[in-house]
Subunit: 419 residues, 2 copies
Amino acid sequence: MELYHGDILYSESSKKLKIFENSYIAVENGKVEGIYTSLPEKFAGADVIDHGRGLIIPAFSDLHVHASQFIQRGIGMDLLLNDWLNTYTFPQESHFAEEEYAEPIYEAYVRDMIRHGTFHASIFTTIHRSSADILYKKLEEKGLWALVGKVNMDFQSPSYLCETTEESLRETEIFLDEHSNSSTVKPILTPRFAPTCSRELLWRLGKLGKKYRTGVQTHIVESRWEAAESCRLFPDCRSDSNIYEEAGLLGNGPSIFAHFIFPTEDDIRVMNEYGCFAVHCPEATNNVIAGIMGVHKLQEQDIHIALGSDIGAGVKNGIYRQCAAAIKLSKLKEFYEPEEAKTIDITNAFFLATKAGGSVFGKIGTFEPGYIFNALVIDGIEDENHPMSPEQRLERFCYAGDDRNIVSRYLNGKPIAVD
Amino acid sequence: MELYHGDILYSESSKKLKIFENSYIAVENGKVEGIYTSLPEKFAGADVIDHGRGLIIPAFSDLHVHASQFIQRGIGMDLLLNDWLNTYTFPQESHFAEEEYAEPIYEAYVRDMIRHGTFHASIFTTIHRSSADILYKKLEEKGLWALVGKVNMDFQSPSYLCETTEESLRETEIFLDEHSNSSTVKPILTPRFAPTCSRELLWRLGKLGKKYRTGVQTHIVESRWEAAESCRLFPDCRSDSNIYEEAGLLGNGPSIFAHFIFPTEDDIRVMNEYGCFAVHCPEATNNVIAGIMGVHKLQEQDIHIALGSDIGAGVKNGIYRQCAAAIKLSKLKEFYEPEEAKTIDITNAFFLATKAGGSVFGKIGTFEPGYIFNALVIDGIEDENHPMSPEQRLERFCYAGDDRNIVSRYLNGKPIAVD
């Protein structure tokens, strides 16, 4: 049993933060046992790790990130999606054919995610299985929670970053097979998006999904261009999401759809029917995609939403940054589309970043009893002689904080170092 | 004569960066003497301070910031302007009546601006002259360039933050008088905005402006509420800007108008006629004001534009952050108002942050010969084995960098320490 003292804060729902100031959290076998406002008799004499006025919060979940694009962050941000892909991203990803190129980038990415308090992530690599394996092992070694996808692209892709359909399926099956026994890191099917996947590929990936009980991640209605192109390529499908439904890719595990900015009614139907996640990546969406997810409206339609960094369209790890970015974009959406949209608040944004995103990985993302104690201690937020409430400290951290404010990290109940 | 070696980058115009890789900048009596791609004979034997691959750029100018709100940064960001003013800002500013309250906040603000590379700023304090004096002295002691305003509010303001007209004028004149001999720090008239100033006050401030040859800073058409309210209060004036024109406040020194989001044709006329600056504060505007300045269109109308942090509606010092935020907002504006707006690029944003903003303070903001060498060295941007061009490093710094990437600072040609 470990005991931690501080100001404890987590999400109960999108509308409610639970806050226990000057309290104790008891952790047993890596899981939360309970929270106590004073130390109960049963813990008398136990060692307490005292974080003072440190804010103890759940670690963050990043539901959409391209680890392979970590090296590109903050470059070419003045382009729109299609140009950005062809100018920077596709050429850069092609180098992941070489393990020696991939290894230091994946190493740097994993260190950086830990540094920024992201302990759970749904990750795109590239089409290259052997380098995807490298990332997979690094995540396992660190004991993080992740879904890792070898990307599929067999169509309308540059020759230097394109597989044959058979190759793509064979490599994917080896990847699923090799990693069928893993614990907190699992494989996930990752067709890049409909514009770069043949029908044959998607439908046969659906069969693999059923065989291996494996979920899927991709990009759905992320831009007007992508939405139109997907519908052009699959004219018999009722929506971008329906392509994956028809292919048999949904319902085999988590379905994680990045961006989801321009949904049709049928997209909403599919999301509801399969309990899919729509991943809001506000910084990335702003940088290269253009358009704003309607978070509030989707929540009213009972869509599960989480947050993503979407590195390299997003520029940095740190889902706390995305909390602030999500609030900012929701304000602009309400400004421009007052009938459609409503501003979200910090309580809602933090819920998306922790409890909502964490639910994909199991009992992750809050401090209710039985949840894994993956936690961060946030400090150095207040100015001298100007104490702030826990909620204010959370808000300032999300808006103006950085990794220096994460003063301790706990993974599975144990301290984890940044190196 | 001092010589610095590195990758030198500055703005020539909104359309052109000047880049000298692996070059030398010669500085004499605090001013740029010239830039050399190799060391000329005349400097043979001179000591060179070598910044290696460090990017040597001009220090930033922040043309709109409330130093008194530094303590509020990142709090209450889910409110809109009017609520945010009444809930947080006005009560907090009232404490600046006490010098003991003001002193540590202004001290922290000045340290933080240096840390983030802002060496020139146009600053709001509060209505309290004696605490404004404290900030003034701190800026002078550090040798920074600044315009500092004692705020005027005699109307429609909460009783705890309101002056009589006579008191406001008397205190302002003392402030102007006391600081008439200063060098790089100068006073500026600072009526908060039309909704909190009586006609009597504004017109008599205009007389003070003429007497002391002092410019003016205020908020103009910053939100639909503010624009409408100003027009309601001054029905005989043709625009928000025309109020200040009629009051005699323009043309006595720099005229610096924050936000400028909803200009009428008459506002544009005034701006052109008096060479006023419109200050774009993209983060702040997004946070509490709602609406996006049309940078590209205003530039086509020959309006001078610069950038501002607008702390505390903005959350942090660092005008490099505002470069990225300005680009992001311009993309959203183009997305929502394609007929009206155009995306700006990093070359343009960096120009606003340095050469455009700096011009208010004299020969500041570029490295052309004769300009003051107020400079930053940016490093730690590149990943190992992945060299980036100077322009890419600038972009990544603006999007994903922080104060740790500012590895050296030069003020008036001398190193300045962060403490």
